[in-house]
Amino acid sequence: MPRPAGLIGPEGLAGLRDPLVEPVRMNSTADVEPHIYQSTVTRPVAVDVSKVSLTFDTADGKVEALSNVDLQIGGGEFVSFIGPSGCGKTTLLRVIADLQQPSSGTVTVNGMSAEQARLGRNYGYVFQAPALFPWRSIEANLKLPLELMGFSPTEQKQRAARYLELVNLIGFERKFPWQLSGGMQQRVSIARALSFDPELLLMDEPFGALDEIVRDHLNEQLLQLWAKTRKTVLFVTHSIPEAVFLSTRIVVMSPRPGRITDVIDCNFPRDRTLEIRETPEFMAIAQRVRTGLRAGHSYDE
């Protein structure tokens, strides 16, 4: 489904909408006090997850990957999902992306069902690995979704150039993926996810395989990108500092069954820098995330 020509570029979107914190509905089985936030809704709800459960049948019996998850995410938010392995954070993201179907419950994305949203190309997805197509040059990789969606060749070229610039990779158009470092490849995959200008960006531990320095750097770039494009970002991570640094809200999850145990507000200014990690406010939120993770984690296994 081709999108209308003349879409506003990422820089053109800036300033159209205000960042805000959406209300959250929580319905968790954990013994953590639910947090209800005051609503100041000015943007429509981007993602609405309602009573979603998902059970896998495995050789060892049934595994409850998600149990009765309720979550609402407003437009323009940056929401991180954090929790130990097996807590269902990736599964939740995949359910929102319609890559997996829930056993029960409903998911609404931009007012549509998850499937309609996927068919309408409402989101870009960034995986743990860059998953670039090795036989395509960097530029051709960026053009791939645009080719599939029927953009004109000139539009493809313009967009590829624009989004390569956005992730600071001008000059690498003709290179092949193996000629780029892991961090650069992941930036290409982020540019690719943004290239068709979806409202929503779903990121599944995108920097998990990168070293600390590169990760910090990409975190800063991602924040700038988010500030510029005003996308709604759902971000799965293992790292507490990463979650606190990036997010407007942090969703803490815990395993067996996969569920939400805490939702923490995290409202540093949009133009935050890495230095805020030394501030007491940052530490306090990080501490609360850590406590939340511990509460949902049984160590006696």
Binding site: L99, R121, Y125, F127, F133, P134, P145, L148, P177
Partner: protein, 293 residues
Amino acid sequence: MRTHPLVTRNAPVVTIVAVLIVVWYVGAVLMNLSLVRGGFEREESPYTTMELLEGTMSAERPLLPAPHQVVGAFIDGVFGYAPTAPRSLVYHSVVTLSATLLGFALGALLGIVLALAIVHSRVLERSLMPWIICSQMVPILALAPIFIVVLGAIGLQGLLPKSIISAYLSFFPVTIGMVKGFTSPDPMQMDLMRTWSATSRQVLSKLRWPWAVPYLFASLKVAITISLIGAIVAELPTGAEAGIGARLLAGSYYGQTIQIWSALVAAAVLASGLIAIVSYAERKVAQRMGARA
């Protein structure tokens, strides 16, 4: 002592070839010895050991011709006659080569079509796969005469029946390779295509095909050699007048072992050339697809 890089690179190959040639000469002497000795004794002429040895390497119909005899006959067959003459190896090679290439093209096409069908339908996979495997369990030497006779009965003669036997052999590695290739994309890349709601045709052309290319060339290399074997085998049962198979058959009828061996050399040269062409295409395609140099 420093050796020239050319020497370093080629020394192993040259050594092996030299050893093989020595073994071959020794074998020729041993196998032809009684034959030559018998010849001398029949004529009741005295002979020296030297004459005996020479005899084993220059017999007209030796059990095992010496390498220089085979090479001589091969060179004579290639350059000694006009390319259209019935004694020219070039003529026979071209006849076999045309059947090989047509059969290879048909086989590769059929192999790819079958692989596509199998990848896109589980029902087809379950219904087709056993037959495909069965088809290769029947020895082609037994099947070839049946094919030739049946096709001849419906008026198909010459190139096409031979090509069909080539195709019958060569589709198999292509099907197996391409099924593997088409199903080899990274699950993450499959998921990506899904997030872009790509149609299955788009997934095929943008993801499955490029992934399958290395598998394609690997199976094409197998396919083109067995295509050649198929064409040669197909020339045997009809007693065809032309083709490498015909030369082999005629050679064995008349005990012309040197002719058999030179035809075998022609087949080997042909096979090497075909493989080299496929490898060249593979390299060129890999370069265009951004393979590491």
